[in-house]
Symmetry: C2
Subunit: 158 residues, 2 copies
DNA sequence: CCACATTCTTGCAGTATGCAACATTAGTGA
DNA sequence: TCACTAATGTTGCATACTGCAAGAATGTGG
């Protein structure tokens, strides 16, 4: 591809990246006094993953198991997750969201979707359809290398 | 806008957001043993801002001044930034990148641009041009609300 | 000179993070 | 059944990030 195209597309994508990260940060503001960002990542994983054992959680978040351990302790103390020994394998301790924990995830997710919706609502229908296909193509092109990456999940929804 | 469009565009944008965040995280991997992510954010600000005093830095990073203070201490100890009293106002202590600090910023930035370039190179020229205009429109639509946000800078380039 | 604002700095407390060592539990082969 | 190994969770230790609050140093305006 020629250099002009290359620079233009990279600039546009980088700018979009900044905007999206800012949106993600803002969407967390409402619950910032209840959970930290790493804690919220853990809640998100539980939300989409159901009951999860500690080692799996650590892998999904890409953190050391001791880190996941203590985060889980704090979230349990805050009443946002429950921890219980797996009766089928007493080495494992499974954790899952409480109703309160799920409420927090839903609240943040709704806010972020609203923010994105507010932005795209200011675009024309033509631009909007173009954005859908362009982002879809971008995601597909990036999906191949992303699967080979070191961050399979966890980061995405923070 | 109708619900179908709305869901499709939000899904596409959210997926793109995950991909971009994963790219940003990977691009930091090469220097993860030298600087942490918050430290890298500080280096980026210095890279684009030149000499900066502590309070300004804290505002740009959206952290408490005591946090910025200690981060600056550690980066200075690591030889990545220099701190010196402003001779024109001895209350202020200005900090700036060392050559080594700038090298790290350049290294990460180059890697991220390469990753994005690799993705868009897998798209057809038509898709690429569509991505430029779609992302540009998205950024413009989001720019208005972004300026009213609480994270003017700092986050974007992390 | 005095009162005030700005700026940096430090003490304190809580959270996040990784490494290494350890105990418990499960599985496996002799 | 018994020893060996693997998987899993847990804890100790050290470091970094974070904010609040108090204090010291410096500049500004009267």
């Amino acid at each position: 591809m020629n250099g002009e195209d290359r620079d233009a597309v990279i600039s546009a994508v980088l700018a979009g990246s900044r905007l999206l990260v800012a949106i993600a940060a803002r969407s967390l503001g409402a619950v910032a006094d209840r959970v930290t960002l790493p804690q919220f990542r853990m809640l998100v994983v539980l939300s989409g993953h159901g009951e999860t054992k500690l080692v799996t959680m650590a892998e999904l978040l890409d953190v050391n198991s001791s880190t996941a351990m203590r985060m889980a302790d704090r979230l349990a103390a805050a009443g946002l997750v429950l921890r219980e020994v797996n009766p089928l394998n007493r080495r494992e301790s499974l954790m899952r969201l409480t109703d309160e924990g799920r409420r927090i995830v839903d609240q943040v997710t709704a806010r972020r979707r609203d923010e994105i919706a507010a932005i795209v609502s200011r675009m024309s229908p033509v631009e909007r359809r173009a954005l859908i296909s362009a982002m879809t193509a971008f995601n597909e092109a990036g999906g191949e290398s992303a699967e080979a990456g070191t961050h399979p999940l966890g980061w995405p929804d923070a």
